[in-house]
Amino acid sequence: MTTADATAPGPAPAADERQGMAGLWRRTLDNMKSGNLGVLPIVVGIIFIVVFFSFKATNFFTATNFVNIIIQMAGTAMLAYGVVFVLLLGEIDLSISYVAGIGALTVAELQNPGSGHQINGLLAMLCAVAICAIIGVGQGSIVAYVGVPSFVVTLAGYLVWQGVILQRLEQPGSIIIQDRWINYTASYFFSHDAGWLIAGIITGVYLIGVIWTVVSHRRAGIPIKNKGTMIAKVLGVAAASFGVVAICNHSYVQGNPLGLPLAGVIVVIFLIVLTFLAKRTTFGRHVYAVGGNAEAARRAGVNVHRIRILVFLISSAMAACGGIILAANVNSVDLNFGGGTLLLNSIAAAVIGGVSLFGGRGEVRGAFLGALVIATVSNGLNTAGYATGIIYIVTGLILLFAVTLDTIARRLQVRSGR
């Protein structure tokens, strides 16, 4: 309808595209002013933590401990990914830790050799994820259609699923996981060459994504902003993936060489897939929209109920994935599975990673970084010989600091809005 006017200069091309670095700086500043701090604070935080513990504990800054941290963060990260989506909606899911328990219990049950219903480990894992997805759909439906606050629904879920686990495991106390496929999720290490190949693939996938963006922008005739940042990001991803593999390939346990852990690869694959889901699909866009202004989204024709249910599905399915890795890590499921700090650490990971509790702001990678912070801190405090109490205190303070940062950012956003 506007072909005649299309040739007129659009309002979009502002000065910030031409100025390169200065424009980039301005955009960053604008972002920060509007309450979008990005990953900068957390990356700085991780560097600080690593440097601190390297001086504090002699065996912290080693390749083997690096592999340890990756495996320790994997379970929490998977749960935290799901939490991101729930928080983006402005909801909460308190049931994830015990839904993770249900996932772990399901795989343990289905691989149990003496049970009479033993199936292949891979199939067992699929079943576990499917069962938890159904749990998520149930909880999400109650939230969406009945309108019961998610806090209450998932608190009930927390109790119910804990009850189910206690009930099932009361007699044996625990089920040992013997299936190699299931245990591989936490204890398989790629050979050195396979590690390099995976680093190459990850870099390649990212590069293809960037090239695709550039091509589609070209085709639509839209100038590409921040070419410098794009190149820097590709180089950063390459450096990170090859760097991680290089370190992992230097790790040893009792003289046996380790390598890139499968758990780490799983975490990265889900990071990529879920980031794509959140940022590049209509579903992801609608999640952000519902979290920002549910009424606006509804009026714009977004099926808000469907989005809510799908988000709770993702949350529970991710919990199952995390639960499987956590169970594989100890080769068993016992009465206490899903208890302790798992739930709060997962939520804390997302929040530390900059996902707003108020909905609409945050990214999947935040959960990754947040889980990394939590794993690094508790690993560091452990290796430095601190007691469990200290670990909780420090984690709590980091969480408080992160949320304070988020709140201040939000206040700045409101101020810059008018």
Binding site: M1, T2, D5, A6, A8, P9, G10, P11, A12, A14, D16, D30, K33, S34, G35, N36, S216, H217, R219, A220, G221, I222, K225, R280, T281, T282, F283, R285, H286, Y288, A289, G291, G292, N293, E295, A296, A297, R299, A300, G301, V302, G360, R361, Q413, V414, S416, G417, R418
Partner: protein
């Protein structure tokens, strides 16, 4: 008092050769015991800016919501482009080409301009967003409406001023080849300069051949933009005025003390409800 002299509903029916874009006949709506609308007639022609004014509780918003599909009218009929239509939800209204810009804007603060413009109707291929297409089309729409105050279509709505937000909301309403745009209090929260921006935009919509309904408390805004002015009082029609042939004085009298132009119980049009 003044109302009968300005009563032109009958005249409008005479020029039926060019059917109004939207025509409401005998719309009645009640919420429990509260009678919100009683036998209300209303019409908009393509290319005109029709103002809908009235005091608080006069039924303006309810009438709009009946057209937008938020509420279903208890009685009466809606004709769009001369054809009788049934609007059961916002989707139906949107399919007809009716877009409503609500008072509270209905924008998502956390999304940027492009994302808001395409909210609920994202351009996609196999559910994967085609961002560049959306970005380009947004820029084109804004420049066609001569909205020049927005620096970047990639900034979040949270960083925009009230006038800019209103511009985004209006631009979103017209981007979808809509035929009728309804603006609910578009200038209520704006400063003087920003009000001027938005009113300019409203006039431009009319010039582009769209039917525009503007609901406002502010008679200055109404006289700046409207070609005709319909007045509601206590859920009834109390007058329909040509902007050029009336005064603010007359409108204020109609708003505060206008008498119903239709007597309830006696159908004034040929299409009395069968029930």
């Amino acid at each position: 008092m003044c109302a009968p002299s300005a009563f032109v509903v009958g005249n409008a029916a005479v020029s039926a050769s060019e059917a109004p874009l939207l025509q409401l006949r005998g719309i009645t709506k009640s919420f429990g015991s509260v009678q919100a609308l009683t036998d209300v007639d209303f019409e908009v022609r393509a290319g005109e800016v029709m103002a809908l004014v009235g005091d608080n509780g006069a039924g303006k918003s309810t009438l709009v919501k009946c057209v937008a599909g938020t509420h279903a009218a208890d009685d009466g009929e809606i004709l769009f482009e001369g054809k009788r239509v049934h609007i059961h939800g916002p989707k139906d209204a949107a399919n007809l080409g009716i877009e409503v810009v609500y008072q509270d804007l209905a924008l998502c603060d956390n999304l940027d301009v492009v994302q808001n413009m395409y909210l609920g109707r994202e351009a996609n291929r196999y559910e994967v967003l085609t961002e560049p297409v959306m970005e380009q089309h947004t820029s084109e729409t804004l420049s066609s409406l001569r909205v020049t105050t927005i620096n970047s279509v990639r900034q979040t709505v949270a960083t925009l001023s009230g006038g800019q937000r209103q511009s985004v909301a209006v631009a979103r309403a017209v981007m979808w080849n809509s035929k009728l745009v309804i603006l609910d209090e578009p200038t209520a929260a704006l400063g003087v300069a920003q009000t001027e921006q938005v009113l300019e935009l409203v006039r431009r919509l009319g010039e582009q051949g769209l039917g525009v309904v503007i609901i406002s408390h502010n008679l200055h805004d109404v006289f700046e933009t409207a070609t005709r002015i319909a007045v509601l009082r206590l859920g009834r029609n109390v007058g329909l005025f040509e902007r050029a042939k009336t005064t603010q004085q007359e409108i204020v009298e109609a708003i505060t003390a206008g008498q119903p132009t239709k007597v309830s119980g006696i159908p004034s049009t040929a299409t009395a409800p069968a029930s």
